[in-house]
């Protein structure tokens, strides 16, 4: 089996969870990876300070799409305030695969978009 393109990565790429749009939504953000042009947006519904529901949308490689899909279940139910505490290590741990420096931004795009929506800080997670 391929070390990067594990079955669960391909499964999340081909059948992404929590993908689409939410109307209405409370928070949204859209961003892209300037290196490759991949785009990702998010719609979030907030209730009692927590992420009640979210949907990602956009296009990208297997790593960026799988990262969004895999983390989405963890993010639902999370207090909005906690999202700004999440860093790159959290995403990479969720993915459970080694990410080379050239694919790091692919893996982090979804968290960048989540943080942009919840904190307004659109810098790359470290």
């Amino acid at each position: 089996m391929d070390a990067l393109y594990r079955d669960f990565i391909l499964d999340h790429y081909k059948n992404p969870r929590n993908f689409g749009e939410l109307s209405p939504h409370d928070l949204d953000f859209h961003d892209h990876n300037p290196l490759c042009g991949d785009e990702l947006g998010v719609h979030i519904v907030v209730e009692d300070g927590k992420v009640k529901d979210l949907r990602f949308h956009g296009q990208g490689c297997a790593i960026s799409q799988a990262a969004a899909s895999i983390t989405s279940d963890e993010l639902i139910g999370m207090p909005v305030e906690e999202i700004q505490e999440l860093g790159a290590d959290w995403v990479i741990e969720q993915l459970g695969i080694d990410i080379s420096p050239t694919r790091r931004k692919c893996a982090l795009l979804s968290l960048k978009v989540m943080r942009g929506a919840t904190t307004g800080d659109a810098s790359w997670p470290e």
Binding site: D2, L4, Y5, L10, K14, L35, C36, G37, D38, E39, Q59, G60, C61, A62, I63, Q65, R103, C106
Partner: protein, 412 residues
């Protein structure tokens, strides 16, 4: 009979040290020359020799070492200018093609483009031939217009005529060869029609000079920009311009060397081409590009073009064997240079490139600095294989095999 490509350029690969590299026990197949080309040892040695034996400030010192370095720098300019058939005094060294285009946008554009005017580019331009014009138009109130892609991914001269006929176009700026589609544009005809309509023309030749015979006097554009690092040389650019325009233009960058006399309040300018070469020039890079041009000249640009054409033809023949593949660019090989952009259903270009890398096949993935073009093609990104003199049909075979394996990994 051996294919044309194998006969004339045999053993060229051995001149390129980096192509000896192996990754995962496999010899590298470098298919990314449209991004940057590899350098033959003749170029590496020429730069090394210049630095080891002749390096000193150019155009300054009175001592013999400085004379030697100046001679080497100017000999490189003369060789490069003669290679593309243009006046050396009107051939300006720049950092790269991007800086060459910005030079025109700033030094010519700000004097001649104003509100209500139009700058005409095309949908297949590299960002380097889009963004400088966007900035110019934003500052001056001019309008940026795009020639559209035809169904065969070419430009339409009829569309050019109809836009020019509206009488507002001040500048037409197009790529000689597209870095994504490979389209070879009829730039001589475009320059002629632009001039007839009172517009100035600029051609981005970054993908053309490295792979085909280019005669600038025949093309007769007002400005022609290209870069050495795609032509087997180091990173240094060239701007060739029409003398009347360059003479009348204000300088781009101010500083040392570009002046004739500096007073407390104002200065006068050095003669061409030095007026546009402010500061200390990249002499080692100029010498390196001179050596690269000597190398290409010795191979013969007709043979280089025949080789590129053969590899492109072979790639266009073999790649359709890959299930789910879409190829971009003109099908007519007479109108197409050595680049093949493609997409595969169900697999993102990033992942294609990653999986090709497992087979030591280097292809580019992304928007190729042509985001407006990606939108025209209806994709976010493509994968791209591009060729140069050191590539072979065997490497096209390896690409096709790598793509088949990639589809297996993705269970397609």
């Amino acid at each position: 009979m051996a294919p044309v490509a194998d006969k004339p350029l045999v053993n060229v690969r051995a001149d390129f040290p980096v192509l000896e590299r192996e990754f995962g026990g496999k010899r590298v197949a470098y298919l990314d020359s449209a991004a940057t080309s590899q350098r033959p040892k003749q170029v590496i040695e020429a730069m090394d020799r210049f630095q080891s034996e002749s390096y000193a400030p150019i155009h300054r010192g009175v001592y013999e070492l400085a004379r030697e370095s100046t001679d080497a720098f100017e000999a490189a300019r003369t060789r490069i200018a003669s290679f593309v058939n243009w006046d050396p005094a009107c051939s300006i060294f720049t950092r790269n093609a991007t800086e060459a285009i910005n030079l025109v946008a700033y030094a010519w554009g700000r004097e001649h483009v104003g509100e209500g005017d139009e700058v005409l580019i095309s949908e297949m331009e590299h960002h380097s031939n889009i963004v400088p014009w966007q900035i110019l138009c934003e500052e001056t109130g001019a309008k940026l217009r795009y020639l559209t892609l035809t169904d065969s991914h070419e430009l339409s001269l009829d569309e050019l005529d109809s836009v020019l006929a509206e009488g507002r176009v001040k500048l037409v700026a197009v790529a000689h060869v597209s870095n994504v589609l490979g389209t070879i544009n009829p730039v001589a005809e475009i320059a002629r029609r632009a001039r007839a309509a009172g517009a100035v023309s600029l051609v981005d030749g970054s993908q053309a000079v490295p792979q085909m015979p280019v005669d600038l006097s025949e093309i007769d554009a007002d400005f022609y920009a290209w870069t050495g690092h795609k032509a087997l040389g180091p990173t240094i650019g060239l701007l060739h311009g029409r003398r009347e325009l360059l003479s009348a233009m204000r300088p781009f960058l101010g500083g040392g060397h570009m002046i004739s006399r500096v007073e407390r309040e104002r200065s006068t300018w050095n003669e061409l081409p030095y007026k546009f070469e402010a500061g200390t020039s990249a002499a080692t890079e100029a010498v390196g590009l001179g050596a690269a041009i000597e190398y290409l000249d010795a191979l013969g640009m007709d043979r280089v073009r025949a080789h590129e054409r053969d590899l492109t033809a072979y790639a266009l023949e073999r790649l359709p064997e890959v299930e789910g593949i879409t190829l971009f660019g003109p099908p007519d090989l007479d109108h197409r240079g050595g680049v093949v952009a493609f997409a595969i259903e169900g697999m993102h270009p990033h992942d294609i490139a990653e999986l090709c890398d497992r087979e030591a096949v280097c292809v580019r993935a992304g928007h190729h600095c042509a985001q407006p073009l990606m939108r025209c093609l209806g994709v976010g990104a493509t994968a791209r294989a591009s060729f140069h003199v050191y590539n072979s049909r065997d490497e096209v075979d390896r690409l096709v095999d790598a793509l088949a394996k990639a589809r297996e990994v993705f269970e397609l």
